[in-house]
């Protein structure tokens, strides 16, 4: 079930929440018609995000998913602000503000616990394994690298390592830094180029320099596996949570709308 394309579903759900919030900035209530219309529009054209495209085109070194954070940073204060202004406060706006807050808090919590929690912890575990492997002498080390499907170097010849250019340049940057600092016993654990729109050019790198020589291990397959596992987990949980929030909020908005209409009908 988790193999499904949750990473395509969740951004659309978030954009749908943004679209509903933006609609309620201009209209006091939301009925079933605008709800379905916005759902269809986001479903069809949700991928065409101008801010995302701007980031991809003009700031490729930045993660384009910052655009989601920018939308949230603009919309959240506006939607929540309406709740505190008596003449703009309506049941639908209050519910949407609560929903948007819940969605933002949920995604932040998932991000903190999984992306900045589990992912580096997994990298640390792999790097510890690599560090233990580096205790071996050269023939055993080479053999262990082959067994574990890792790309290794024992003589400091980084250029000959069968890696992509971006991973190799990452290792060269570590080497340059080590030389500049003239460190004789130096271990670097790092991972290269990980964000969730990228599924290649990932590696957990362990770089160890001591007076006897230089050893480098790049765990490419392990990094891709860890990245894929945590990415799918993150998007599955986020999609479930966001879909639940949206359904609850929309249900309550429709229920309130129905009650309001009946009251109006009776009082008129």
């Amino acid at each position: 079930m988790l193999e499904w394309a949750w990473d395509a579903v969740d951004p659309l759900l978030i954009k749908l929440a943004f679209a509903y919030s933006a609609y309620l900035l201009f209209k006091p209530h939301m009925g079933i018609k605008p709800m379905i219309t916005l759902l269809v529009i986001i479903g069809l054209f949700g991928e065409l995000d101008p801010l995302y495209w701007l980031f991809m085109t003009y700031w490729p070194e930045q993660n384009p998913q910052i655009s989601t954070a920018i939308y949230a940073a603009v919309l959240l204060p506006l939607v929540v602000g309406q709740v505190f202004i008596a003449r703009r406060r309506t049941a639908d706006r209050v519910l949407m503000a609560l929903g948007l807050c819940a969605i933002t808090v949920t995604i932040m919590l998932f991000h903190v616990l999984l992306i900045t929690g589990s992912m580096p912890a997994w990298a640390d575990r792999i790097n510890y394994e690599n560090r233990v492997m580096m205790m071996l002498d050269e023939p055993a080390f080479t053999q262990a690298c082959a067994t574990q499907n890792r790309v290794c170097s024992v003589n400091g010849d980084i250029q000959s390592m069968p890696l992509s250019d971006s991973i190799r340049s990452g290792i060269e940057a570590i080497a340059k830094d080590t030389e500049e600092q003239s460190r004789s016993d130096f271990v670097v654990h790092s991972y290269v180029e990980i964000n969730d729109i990228q599924s290649s050019d990932l590696a957990f790198i362990t770089y160890y320099a001591d007076p006897n020589g230089l050893k480098v291990i790049a765990a490419v397959d392990q990094a891709e596996d860890a990245h894929r596992t945590i990415k799918q987990l993150f998007y599955f949980l986020a999609s479930t949570a966001h879909a639940t929030w949206l359904v609850l909020i929309c249900g309550l908005m429709l229920l309130h709308g129905r009650l309001l209409n009946r009251r109006r009908l009776i009082s008129s």
């Binding site: 079930m1 988790l2 919590l109 998932f110 616990l113 999984l114 929690g117 589990s118 912890a121 997994w122 575990r125 792999i126 394994e129 560090r131 233990v132 492997m133 205790m135 071996l136 055993a140 053999q143 262990a144 067994t147 574990q148 392990q222 596996d225 860890a226 596992t229 799918q232 987990l233 599955f236 949980l237 479930t240 949570a241 639940t244 929030w245 609850l248 249900g251 309550l252 009650l259 009946r262 009251r263 009776i266 009082s267």
Partner: protein
């Protein structure tokens, strides 16, 4: 601790459900009593006993799930039987559905995806160690503080170490998510129930039993309009007696609206 919080939250939702099922209303005092009782259940060995009783061996604390499920079904049945919307029951059904979805998602994600994949990666991690002579294996184990143990002449990493890694990377983040979701839903239910009750306590839309009643609201509105027109209410069964009594004398001298004669006022 986290498991106990999750158990307490689950127990709280279940207890409120049973309480509403029996008494049909929830006051602040009774909610507080239920909160204390659920904390006592969650932090006592009873939760573990329930977990063992239902045979759920997952690390997530689902011991109280069946109890909550039964309560949820009972509440849905109660809703179906009633014509009027019972606001407290509705809120609880919504919150419990959300909580169940969240909890099931955490459980599915952990059991079917995250833990198996992590365990596979962990099992493959030190395979190279088995290819070394026993003496060298022991030396590396000692130098790297791996805490190896010998089982049937084979060296393996101590389960305690592997368990600690799994706990840190897989179980703890999901347990934190589970505890926060349960805590938020339980507190959310409490706040919404309290807020709704407070809002409607002074409202004319609340009948004598403290229930939100659309007809009461309509009746109150009509009474208000008639009073503002200088009329006494003709809606109560005693309306004919009241006409000409001390109450109606308060309006003596005021002209009656020609469009609304007392005799012709329709009963609602």
């Amino acid at each position: 601790m986290l498991e106990s919080i999750t158990n307490s939250g689950a127990a709280f939702l279940g207890l409120i459900a049973f309480w509403l099922l029996i008494t049909n209303k929830l006051s602040g005092g009774s909610a507080l009593v239920l909160l204390v009782l659920s904390a006592a259940i969650g932090f006592s060995p009873l939760a573990e006993a329930l977990q063992a009783l239902f045979g759920i061996t997952t690390s997530l604390s689902l011991g109280l799930l069946p109890c909550v499920l039964v309560a949820l079904l009972a509440l849905i049945l109660m809703q179906l039987r009633r014509r009027r919307i019972h606001v407290q029951g509705m809120m609880l059904v919504i919150a419990m559905s959300g909580w169940l979805i969240a909890h099931s998602a955490f459980w599915v994600a952990e059991v079917t995806w995250f833990e198996p994949r992590f365990l596979e990666a962990q099992d493959n991690g030190y395979q190279w160690l088995n290819e070394l002579p026993i003496k060298q294996q022991l030396t590396i184990c000692a130098n790297a503080s791996l805490g190896c143990q010998s089982v049937d002449g084979k060296i393996s990493i101590k389960p305690a170490r592997l368990r600690a890694e799994r706990q840190r990377i897989v179980n703890d983040p999901l347990l934190i998510l589970s505890a926060s979701a349960t805590g938020c839903y339980a507190l959310g239910v409490l706040l919404v129930l309290y807020g709704h009750r407070r809002k409607h306590k002074s409202s004319p839309a609340m009948n004598a039993k403290g229930k939100s009643d659309l007809h009461s609201a309509a009746r109150a509105k009509i009474m208000q309009i008639q009073r503002s027109n200088g009329y006494h209410s003709f809606l109560s069964p005693k309306s004919t007696e009241a006409f000409g009594s001390e109450k109606s004398s308060a309006y003596a001298g005021k002209s009656l609206s020609p469009t609304c004669e007392p005799e012709s006022t329709p009963r609602i």
